[in-house]
């Protein structure tokens, strides 16, 4: 007999508000559907009302875990629109922050995956190591989560000699610990037994469903924006794209640990070859009318910003495609024919950042040929009207106590 179960929007297994509707046959998931929109904040519309400089800080708050990736994606797009060449030292520092962020994000993910697999002490270990990176980031930028390092033409703060030495020292410690985790992920029988074979996504499916990031790379496809379409200083650095062929959650864990190790090597290269000179150049206030499509390899996969300028100091349109959105279709495919106990693990394996992916899309009938632009006040009126219709009091929810 088939029956339907809904999970979320508030559920202990999900750390953010998202709703999963599943059709179950016994313990096996036959069909799944995602319902989004619980953390939609209207960032794209807010960006149209703010100047480019204010928008750096708005795009930073699209996501709290990959905050630097969104600002860098936005900043390098606007720099292309401005036809501005950023300072070389600035680009190096930007890349250092990006790699530090990748390290902290992957360590965070490893801990969460360990917790979902029932390995609580692993969670504590990786989060302890993550604090090393958080301290470095706080020392460089002044904040633990939102670094606010990017400005047009470079970065806001320099890295001095003492900081450079301290980072290199802490990398040695992290390298040792990460080697231990790789060893553990590959050989600890309980951990391997829990992750292996869960959430299968075949190579063909991964391509057909447009998966990105570690989810795609764990299905054996070496795709990485840092190598395929290098931005910042990635074209000058030697690195290998980490892949795995097992197509399951274990593969995704191994890919992320391998990426940690390659990130340490990259950080070492960047810090040892940090060029002298200014770390920022002066940028113009206004931007010529044009459009740009900016790509960035965030810790979760390819992040895309589309920016259209109209000659003023505010963008006409900002479109954000966060990596989690691209991975949703693959998640549904992974959940199908899996067990209900594997839902948190499979869902955590794409490293979901729900608030990254909450964008509003309205589908118009293309054949009608009419297009319209909604103003801010119209959107506000629509949102209020819709919210009024939701009335919980009328539903008479049965109260167990």
């Amino acid at each position: 007999m088939e029956y339907k179960v809904s999970l979320g929007p508030q559920h202990p297994a999900l750390h953010e508000a998202v709703s999963l509707r599943m059709t179950l046959d016994g313990e096996v998931i036959r069909d799944a559907d995602l319902k989004l929109g619980y953390s939609h904040r209207g960032i794209e519309k807010l960006a149209e009302e703010r100047s480019y400089i204010q928008n750096i800080y708005l795009t930073e708050r699209i996501c709290g875990i990959c905050s630097h990736s969104h600002t860098t994606c936005f900043t390098q797009g606007v720099e292309q629109l401005m036809e501005l060449v950023p300072a070389r030292r600035g680009l190096y520092i930007r890349t250092i922050i990006a790699e530090l962020e990748r390290v902290h994000s992957h360590l965070l993910w490893l801990g969460v995956a360990g917790q979902e697999a029932g390995f609580e002490s692993f969670f504590m270990y990786t989060w302890r190591d993550r604090e090393v990176i958080m301290d470095i980031l706080e020392w460089i930028s002044g904040n633990r989560v939102h670094y606010a390092m990017n400005i047009f033409g470079g970065v806001r703060r320099d890295i001095d000699e003492l900081q450079r030495k301290k980072i290199l020292d802490s990398l040695e410690l992290l390298k040792k610990r990460t080697d231990y985790y790789l060893n553990l992920a590959a050989s600890e029988p309980t951990f391997v037994g829990r992750l292996a074979g869960v959430g299968k996504l075949s190579r063909e499916d991964a391509i057909a469903l447009c998966a990105v990031g570690p989810t795609l790379r764990a299905s054996g496809i070496a795709s990485d924006v840092r190598r395929d379409d290098p931005y910042a200083v990635y074209s000058e650095m030697p690195f290998e794209v980490a892949t795995a062929d097992s197509c399951d959650v274990l593969g995704r864990a191994v890919v992320r640990i391998k990426e940690l190790i390659s990130s340490y090597a990259m950080l070492e290269f960047l810090l040892k070859n940090l060029p002298e000179g200014p770390f920022k150049v002066k940028a113009p206030r206004k931007v010529k009318p044009n459009e740009v499509y900016s790509r960035y390899e965030a810790p979760r996969g390819e992040n895309v910003h589309y920016i259209k300028s109209n000659g003023s100091d505010k963008p006409e349109r900002l479109k954000v495609r966060a990596p989690t959105l691209a991975n949703y279709a693959a998640t549904i495919a992974m959940l199908k024919n899996g067990f209900i106990a594997d839902i948190p693990l499979i869902f955590a394996a794409i490293d979901p950042c729900i608030c990254c992916a909450e964008r509003l899309v309205q589908l118009d009938d293309g054949r009608r040929g009419d297009s319209r632009v909604l103003s801010f006040s119209q959107l506000r009126a629509m949102a209020n009207e819709r919210a009024k219709k939701i009335d919980f009091k009328k539903r008479k929810i049965a109260w167990p106590f």
């Binding site: 929007p9 508030q10 559920h11 202990p12 750390h15 953010e16 508000a17 929109g37 619980y38 953390s39 939609h40 904040r41 209207g42 960032i43 519309k45 807010l46 800080y57 708005l58 708050r61 699209i62 996501c63 709290g64 875990i65 905050s67 965070l108 504590m124 989060w127 302890r128 993550r130 604090e131 958080m134 633990r144 989560v145 939102h146 950042c353 608030c355 801010f376 959107l379 506000r380 629509m382 949102a383 209020n384 819709r386 919210a387 939701i390 009335d391 919980f392 929810i397 106590f401």
Partner: protein, 141 residues
């Protein structure tokens, strides 16, 4: 006697519900988790993170509430048994942060819930959250 025991256990071991009210950026959520980790260790004050509102004494809310999530947040608040305390953690939950003026978020969680403690910062440091929890517990004493 029983009342004193209940009060003592409530102050010495508050159970916490971490509620993402939507409309935030996740930054505060990872800082709440970081404050429960061995380094900051909020658990030394007896605080334990709970998954369900029915076991919780303190709700730590992050994020400006979205219109879609507003009634759900209210429903979760009603499920928390009395006496209950609400901590608005982070600039979004306090006043909306950068999303202030958006068509889909409220300006802070105190628009819909009574708030006992505010933790400023975007995001706050784990130490600030620990300070807020300790102050809240001292005020309950």
């Amino acid at each position: 006697m029983i009342e004193r025991l209940v009060h003592w256990s409530r102050v010495k071991s508050p159970w916490v519900l971490h509620l993402n009210a939507g409309g935030g950026c996740n930054g505060c959520d990872i800082e709440i988790l970081a404050s429960l980790m061995p380094r900051f260790d909020l658990e030394r004050f007896g605080v334990q993170l709970k998954g369900t509102p029915r076991h919780a004494d303190v709700m730590i809310c992050t994020g400006a509430v979205t219109l879609q999530n507003r009634d759900r947040v209210l429903r979760i608040y009603e499920q928390v048994p009395d006496p209950k305390f609400v901590v608005a953690a982070g600039a979004c939950a306090m006043a909306g942060c950068v999303y202030r003026g958006s068509y889909h978020t409220l300006i802070g969680i105190d628009q819909i819930l009574p708030v006992n403690a505010y933790v400023p910062g975007c995001p706050f440091r784990p130490a600030a959250l620990i300070d807020a929890v300790v102050k809240l517990l001292n005020s309950v004493k």
